[in-house]
Symmetry: D3
Subunit: 205 residues, 6 copies
């Protein structure tokens, strides 16, 4: 199975900094997500892509890591992006310790087990993804009604915008998600306890 319709470089062909970054993610995840190998075809673009990704996704701000991944999954589903829905769906499950949330958000976030605040966040994010030309002050007011600051709004919109790019790169390259992502974070037993402890979304009790 090809992971990209474009050439994929061998690790030993790559510049040191890129190889180091890939080694780092492999150590953490146990495998190399295909987005790293696909984009490594263009080292300068690779560096900018991940610098941007980290600036948004690792920034400490008003959104949890899980909420950021909800934005990624909802907007990537709106763009039918195979790689991003599967890969970030896995990360969403892990961050939220919730084996159901990724599929719910991917199919129809309006039916997902979300708080009203998270729902408002995804309404804004999908509007940026699909109809950004219609964004107006009223949209920011709706966010504000759920306690989101202007800085939070920037984060939500900028993540939606970044994945608008990412989805198109993945679709254009026919980027294939690693098999590992499909199963990751789905274990009900493993997550069950922590999940129930949080109390917010009892699964079946």
């Amino acid at each position: 199975m090809r992971i990209s319709r474009f050439p994929v470089p061998r690790l030993d062909e790559l510049p040191d900094d890129i190889r180091a970054r890939i080694a780092q993610v492999q150590e953490k995840a146990g495998f190399v997500p295909n987005v790293f190998l696909t984009l490594a075809h263009r080292p300068d673009e690779f560096r900018a892509f991940f610098a941007y990704h980290d600036a948004l996704m690792l920034r400490e701000d008003g959104l949890t890591k899980g909420e950021k991944e909800m934005i990624v999954v909802a907007t990537s589903a709106a763009n039918d992006c195979h790689y991003c829905v599967v890969a970030h769906g896995a990360i969403l499950r892990v961050y939220e310790k919730n084996p159901l949330i990724a599929d719910q958000v991917a199919v129809n976030y309006r039916r997902a087990d979300l708080t009203p605040r998270q729902r408002a966040m995804l309404d804004f994010a999908t509007k940026v993804a699909l109809r950004s030309q219609e964004i107006e002050e009223g949209d920011f007011e709706k966010l504000g009604a759920h306690g989101f600051t202007d800085e939070d709004a920037w984060d939500i919109g900028a993540i939606a915008a970044f994945f608008a790019m990412s989805n198109r790169l993945a679709n254009m390259t026919s980027m294939r998600p690693n098999d590992e992502f499909y199963l990751m974070g789905r274990d009900l037993q493993k997550f069950g306890n922590a999940y129930l402890r949080r109390g917010s979304r009892p699964l079946r009790g």
Copy 2:
């Protein structure tokens, strides 16, 4: 978690034939899929719905059971139907013994690991789902080029039509898929051997 926004009858309130059907599916699946409980609110409609479902999905014809489920998943995804994508995605994984196929078909069937014949099948099915008014002889000819007969075309289109109804019922009732469906058929170890034996889609070898 409510499984329907409408009243859900208790099993002991149901007519005998419906209770028997539910007992039968519970014995086979190990749990009662929520579609049975949701639709049991209207016994006559329940009977007609499952009679229709069985007439199409259990009919012995030119499509495999897995291919029929591909049609269900692809068209239900086109309609953003939470229940049908999750529940029939599970059944698709089981029938195909392929832990990846359901998510692939749900996100973007154009990127899924399908044969050209299956791809043509889903092109026809999604056209029936989304733009049936534009179906013309040319669409049947495209199916014919992949060996599908007119009877196969009826099956593909009728399944897409039936789930056009089913998706709307599920969306209207906010029907919730059972938690069990999310993990079903995802076990790489369990399916790996049979899967690899088929030869067509090596997972990671």
Copy 3:
């Protein structure tokens, strides 16, 4: 003129129960609507289709027969379904004793001679037909403001869902409406009196 692009069985080839059903409708209507002949190609599907149809359309509930046909015509027009708009338009004219209503609802129900309650009913029905994934509690509240119960909402949505299927079957089979339907119920003289007695919509007085 072919009435279906698929084979149409001769009456003497049909199972007894289906032939009896067809004889019954012929006696009542004076001709055999082509949907019966087209779907008789698949007896099991025929039985389930009409069982479902009757469960919804003959059910005694909060909607009049005419209102149910309004739902059929409005949603079938949204799907550009030749058979359903023409055939059910005829039935709508007859039930409502109104020679104008079917064309009005088919072209643009927002401009039709409807009560505000009927207008709300068709807003809900067409949302189920076209964007069921966006149905939320607010949509049920709008129905409630016009006196519709939750059971009425189910009826409206389920009829829209059933004809989502029916429209796709008719479009897929190029099902042709009988010529008789076009003129049925259009006689101004015949309907004039009853129509004017209702008082609500004077035609030309």
Copy 4:
């Protein structure tokens, strides 16, 4: 029933030329189509509108009067224009001496009893109506393959363009079609002979 949401002038308030035009159409049709009364609210616009209408619709050229009305009905249906579909549907039935054709073209011209040439004509017309920015030489070549000249193409496109305006005026004014239009030209007995003589579309023989 109001025939326009804007003021409708009394006949004796109108300029002589407009009153004369209205008298003329009344004599011919037996009633005054509401478009004349609605647009008479603005005499200068009335004059230009009907001058344009006549320049296109009465021009002797490669299209029959019936074919011009097919264009009107198909594009007006694409714009959900209540007045134009009903009024021009009536005229289409009369010109074509075919009681079925108007409803067929209005609901889905792809399923109507048309010649391949007429089908190509409506494909071009609806593209002008809905996606004129995408018209390219290839579209003219498709017309040419059916014997349409460039002048015919102008006629088809200009009629579609004129009714793009007309439909919006009618929708904006909630222009109501006269009751008389609904039944006009539907009499199977009256048209049957001439219709059958043409040979192309036997109704029930």
Copy 5:
């Protein structure tokens, strides 16, 4: 560069009245806008087109000439009409003495330097242009809240409707805007003073 894909008559071939009209516009503008030459291919349609144009655009009413051109530019942009956006964009800049306004309105009128009243005007106009079947009383009430009368509403809607036709004619004929339009009214120095005097939209002070 062809200015139309259809034949363009020489001036000496034209009827006197049309040649006179063209001479008049040439004297005023310094060149002959291509719409005059393109439509002169059909003299009767030319006469009706410009009679209609003048009835709407030269009418003294509640809209300024600049506001009328805003409607033309916004709706022509919605239809991707090359000729109308460029030519009427030039006229809009001149009338408004504002070198920025045409591009703003063409790209996204929601982001343009408009008063709330003008914004409401363009919301109504683009709804007529794109979704006239959904126009209802609420749309007129929104206009009324900004001081627009019913006659103003007619003007706004009728201009949008007229250019719905005009855009389609231009797109169908591949009508090419004259080079002169692109630069007209863009001179910041020339307009600067008058512009600043109006006080409403300081450019860079």
Copy 6:
């Protein structure tokens, strides 16, 4: 006039590297494009954004600088992005030494003065911008037929993807283009000679 709905930092508040970059662009352009000031609100995102921009737009490859700007303008127009259409339209005019090309591409690139190769480039780019999920091998083949390599295809698609992000950031922040952009590169006199000499469209060759 605010240039962003979010806070815009003063130059003396900025990190040195960002201030240096801004000084550099100001020296070259004579003013500071507002995108630099708007994005400087988030220094890390600013750095990644411009690193990515430069990696794509300054890369020496099979596309000219003018062609890259055509991609930016066409896709930004598809997203109704006020900032990008105006600012990059200016750059496009300058690079192509063509005062007309930017408005042509922005309104409807199908009507612009482009070579068939450039047209194919924009067909691919707008498909990535609007329907990237449908990109398939056939799209690459169409590019190949005009001499584009796979690396060129990556460039075209990646630029479309980057501006999918950029358009959404600009729309979300209501980023306002500098007044200077509107007039830049429009001078017919300055460009006129080369332009007129060519007669038709060879701009520089």
